[in-house]
């Protein structure tokens, strides 16, 4: 009987100990689709930070580039009342989710850690719903880049363009030298990415904001928009015939191999160059897209934080948000992913030249008011409107019978989609 008492006492004591530690350590379930090499390493950095704080990390990775499958799974989880602690959501979708009443208010933590000072206003506003923080940003991607192969450019005697007129001069030179001037992948988001850089370059940051962020009907049906559409269609004549359906990284590969001269793509293209062992400045050149040197089109990945019931999990969620904005995580994550930290005032010694240039432009454009959200990457308008405009732009790119004026009318109509 003594033994039984001792055994049961031991069992009770260990259970109590477990229970108290369990009460302090929460669990964070994080939904994301960072499953490729560099991205997975970046996600692992966050997991390590959380585990160091004593919390359990429940990974909820759903593969699928654009996050379609992840979003579908998230919807079913939220509808059934069992939302994860955090999910990879960005742009106006954050406000749509917040309107459903399922996101947690992070203001207490945000005030304690001074998030308003660490983030540019344009980006901080995108993370708020009715003035309260509902998400934590992870990185900043710049979309308005043009990547070039300097050897191919030299062979054709073309110089890096700073305006769209210069771009077509360079493209002609490349075409004469037998090199494909512009590497393009014919998928609707790539068509749209090219279009937004053209619109920004042709019209400037104010035009872009009025037309593609505020969707002002008068600006959408203006001569500037017509010019942007015509310039956009002209770019197509410098792409090759096999572009339809091509993935973006295969287009980058064309530039790496010297088959093509330039590519208009965001800074995730840098990852391809680096993975191929190329050195920025020497083997490849990064420059702002023609006409957009003073502007910065941003694509900020963020984690939306859902309302949780368990207090231990809520504490873990706060730690997660705090860890996301910490300098250590910002550095590790962005070095692995190829983007730049969203936290202002960080030391960028370990980042390459393209990233440093990007960071400098980020701060400068924020001060000048030319820091604009990317419409093609879901940062500017809700997904329904973005999808409708994207359909028209892609149709205009592919259908040679559609005139710029007709496209302009259709875009204005699509902008009304709710």
């Amino acid at each position: 009987m003594n033994k039984t008492i001792r055994l049961s006492a031991l069992a009770l004591a260990s259970a109590a100990a477990l229970w108290t530690t369990a009460a302090n350590a929460g669990e964070v379930e994080v939904l994301h689709w960072w499953t490729s090499g560099g991205e997975a390493k970046a996600a692992a950095a966050l997991k390590a930070t959380m585990q160091a704080k004593g919390h359990t990390w429940k990974d909820f990775a759903v593969a699928g580039g654009g996050g379609d499958s992840a979003m579908t799974v998230l919807k079913s989880r939220v509808v059934s009342g069992n939302a994860p602690a955090a999910a990879q959501i960005k742009g106006p979708s954050l406000q749509e989710w917040a309107a459903e009443g399922v996101l947690a208010n992070m203001d207490v933590l945000a005030k304690a850690e001074k998030w308003d000072e660490l983030l540019p206003k344009a980006i901080a506003d995108g993370l708020k719903y009715k003035g309260n923080y509902i998400a934590a940003p992870v990185n900043v991607h710049r979309v308005n880049w043009v990547w070039a192969n300097p050897e191919a450019m030299k062979k054709a005697g073309a110089k890096m363009p700073t305006t769209w007129d210069e771009f077509f001069v360079a493209a002609e030179a490349l075409k004469k030298a037998g090199i494909i001037p512009v590497a393009h992948g014919g998928q609707n988001w790539q068509d749209f990415t090219t279009f937004e850089s053209v619109a920004l370059g042709v019209g400037g940051a104010d035009f872009y904001k009025k037309a593609l962020v505020q969707l002002d009907p008068d600006t959408l049906k203006s001569p500037t928009m017509l010019k942007a559409l015509e310039t956009f269609k002209k770019v197509k004549s410098y792409t090759d015939k096999n572009a339809p359906g091509r993935d973006w990284n295969l287009a980058t590969a064309m530039v790496i191999k010297g088959e093509a001269g330039m590519q208009l793509m965001g800074d995730w293209a840098k990852g391809e160059f680096v993975a191929a062992g190329k050195v920025p400045g020497k083997d490849f050149v990064c420059a702002p897209a023609p006409g957009t040197a003073k502007s910065f089109t941003y694509n900020v990945d963020s984690f939306a934080l859902f309302k949780l019931k368990d207090p231990a999990n809520q504490k873990a969620q706060q730690d997660l948000a705090s860890a996301i904005l910490s300098p250590e995580f910002q550095e590790t994550f962005n070095l692995n992913k190829g983007s730049i930290p969203v936290r202002l005032g960080m030391k960028l010694d370990k980042f390459d030249d393209c990233a440093k240039a990007s960071a400098a432009d980020f701060v400068a454009s924020s001060k000048a008011g030319s820091l604009v959200p990317s419409i093609a990457h879901g940062m500017a308008v809700p997904s329904a409107t973005e999808g409708a405009i994207k359909d028209v732009v892609s149709q205009f790119w592919n259908d040679d019978r559609m005139t710029a004026a007709a496209a302009m009318d259709k875009i204005a109509l699509a902008a009304k989609t709710k």
């Binding site: 654009g66 379609d68 979003m71 579908t72 919807k75 939220v78 509808v79 979708s93 749509e96 989710w97 459903e100 014919g186 998928q187 609707n188 068509d191 090759d240 015939k241 096999n242 572009a243 339809p244 359906g245 809700p382 997904s383 329904a384 973005e386 999808g387 359909d391 892609s394 149709q395 790119w397 592919n398 259908d399 259709k410 709710k418």
Partner: protein, 289 residues
């Protein structure tokens, strides 16, 4: 002999599947119908909005393209698969030597998933990598077959890939049907002096009516549920030129947070299918009796 006491046993055994089927098929169809008249966007929202979603749907140019594509693709796919399948079956029925081998070869494409078919045909029909490139390398410099990148012709490429996949399956069904025809009728017709094509056209094919019916059901369902083939082959095509109602519904409901619009398009798909299938089903089953 079943005694009256356990006559309820078969009903009991079938009941669970029946109930589940009823709930999950018809119940969910009803839920979808309810969503299509609701204000659902990102998540289901049960506020009634009347026919607003249907208005938005028929205002959408992309949906009109999708419906047109379904008509073109459906007719070509069903017609092509049935015609080629029947032809192959009739040819294989001629008591040829390597019948077993040929039959297996023709049936193999059915074993591949539509994704693999789509990807393989995408490579073959790509102007720079596939058929056009090959023919130009062989010396036919002016050969061009760029249907895949042409917004007007891309849907025919989808039909080609689909027919290739399903023709063998249709052939197998028709072959089984042909084997069931009584030899005596054929011999009698031959004694009367009818030629072989005439025998097939006037006697054999009409007696294959039940097989036609079941094959048509299977092939039409393959045509309507075509989502994976389109996604793998063209991902909706240059722009949205090869969009089908299934891909439209997926894009709207899941990628663009417009669940109400997606549900409306699903209901329209169901209505289209029902409008064609139900009368055919009715006429066929009625004459059977």
């Amino acid at each position: 002999m079943t005694s009256p006491r356990i006559s309820w046993l078969p009903k009991l055994v079938v009941a669970p599947s029946f109930v589940l089927g009823f709930l999950f098929i018809y119940g969910l169809i009803a839920w979808n119908g309810w969503l299509s008249v609701s204000a659902s966007r990102l998540l289901p929202n049960y506020n009634f909005v009347g026919l607003a979603q249907y208005t938005a749907l028929f205002d959408s140019e992309r949906f009109h393209v999708a419906l047109t594509n379904m008509a073109i693709f459906g007719l070509l796919f069903i017609g092509g698969a049935m015609a080629i399948g029947l032809l192959l079956a009739v040819l294989l029925d001629q008591k040829i030597r390597a019948e077993g081998v040929l039959r297996t070869i023709y049936l193999y494409p059915m074993a591949i998933s539509f994704i693999v078919t789509g990807t393989a045909w995408k490579w073959m029909l790509n102007p720079g990598l596939g058929l056009e490139h090959l023919m130009q390398q062989w010396g036919f410099e002016s050969f061009s077959f760029d249907w895949l990148i042409n917004p007007d012709k891309a849907i025919y490429c989808v039909a080609i890939a689909g027919i290739w996949q399903s023709a063998g399956f249709v052939m197998a069904l028709f072959l089984a049907g042909l084997r069931g025809i009584d030899d005596a009728i054929i011999k009698a017709a031959q004694v009367d002096g009818a030629s072989l094509p005439r025998i097939y056209w006037r006697i054999v094919i009409p007696s294959l009516r039940p097989v036609f019916f079941s094959t048509l059901m299977v092939v039409s369902h393959l045509a309507i549920k075509s989502f994976d083939l389109v996604m793998a082959l063209t991902a909706g095509g240059p722009g949205f030129a090869t969009d089908l109602p299934a891909t439209f519904m997926y894009a709207m409901a899941f990628s663009r947070g417009q669940i109400g619009l997606g549900a409306a398009s699903a209901t329209v798909m169901l209505a289209t299918v029902a409008a064609i299938v139900v009368p055919y089903l009715y006429s066929e089953l009625r004459t059977k009796r």
